[in-house]
């Protein structure tokens, strides 16, 4: 009969927690993106606002880039709405791009449309 020691279980739980934490790092927050400030301008192709966060696809010289905007309250706070992100409009994104080589994905800190700033993360430099 296998005999399980409490300390073994504790060790296993710790290992699982570390693995889970590193997996969470992969997407939430900023750790999955590069530290370098990034700027890109394109034309809005499609967008989906809502939880867990909105996604806007922009066309940049024929290439599609996905821009992650905020969760509903963050977008609402700066007035970034469906109407403002309408298809065909030009927008400039200030933020951080994915650290994964070749992945065209940016997490937005600030968005500029028609000269108006929508600063999603006022506490961060952009």
């Amino acid at each position: 009969m296998p005999h399980v020691r409490f300390t073994h279980l504790l060790g296993f739980a710790f290992l699982v927690a570390v693995l889970a934490a590193s997996a969470a790092h992969a997407h939430h927050g900023w750790a999955w993106a590069t530290d370098e400030e990034f700027e890109i301008t394109g034309t809005i192709q499609s967008m989906r606002l809502g939880n867990p966060h909105g996604e806007v696809t922009i066309d940049v010289d024929g290439e599609a880039w996905v821009v992650e905007v905020g969760q509903p309250w963050r977008n609402d706070r700066v007035g970034l709405s469906k109407e403002i992100l309408s298809v065909g409009r030009e927008m400039t994104v200030h933020g951080h791009r994915s650290a994964k080589e070749g992945e065209r994905l940016v997490k937005a800190e600030r968005i500029v449309i028609d000269g108006t700033n929508y600063d999603l993360y006022p506490g961060r430099d952009s």
Binding site: M1, P2, V4, A26, H27, R48, G50, N51, P72, W73
Partner: protein
């Protein structure tokens, strides 16, 4: 085909409200996690007991208690999970990870229903203390562990791929 139905679900008033909510979405998300926690938290010790761990504790204590908490957890996870699915039905339905997860969940449920029948037929209540469980039960318990751990892992991966 099925696409219009998915779009219809996404556009239901309460689903749109949930998608754009500040608090409701994370709370439903928490409900889903609570459901999974209860399910896994119950099924793991139950399966391990059936497989031969903790033989000096009566098996029916595990079966009678943990079966109920696990089933309740599964129910909660299914209800909250369906709501989360509805907010982005087209995307989820198109995701291979999601489809595989649903198949694994169905396998887990079928396996659990089958195990329940075996439990009843084999009358394990009258087995002597410390006895090894019949082979079909041990095999079913191992499969249960594999199915539910896989379902959890696939669910978590869904958020990242």
């Amino acid at each position: 085909m099925i696409e219009p139905a998915l779009v219809f679900v996404e556009n239901l008033a309460f689903v749109s409200a949930l998608r754009n909510s500040t608090l409701a979405y994370p709370l439903i998300n928490a409900g889903h996690i609570l459901g999974v926690a209860l399910l896994i938290g119950g099924i793991v010790p139950l399966d391990l007991r059936l497989m031969g761990f903790w033989r000096h504790y009566p098996v029916m204590v595990f079966v009678d208690v943990l079966r109920v908490t696990s089933a309740f957890g599964l129910g909660l996870a299914v209800v909250c999970g369906s709501l989360l699915f509805a907010t982005a039905a087209v995307d989820y339905a198109g995701s291979m990870l999601f489809r595989v997860k649903m198949v694994v969940v169905l396998l887990g449920v079928s396996n659990a229903l089958l195990l329940a029948r075996v439990l009843k037929r084999r009358d394990i209540r009258s087995l002597p203390m410390g006895a090894s469980m019949p082979l079909p039960l041990r095999a079913g318990a191992l499969m249960s562990l594999v199915f539910w751990m896989s379902a959890l892992t696939l669910g978590r991966l869904l958020g990242y791929f």
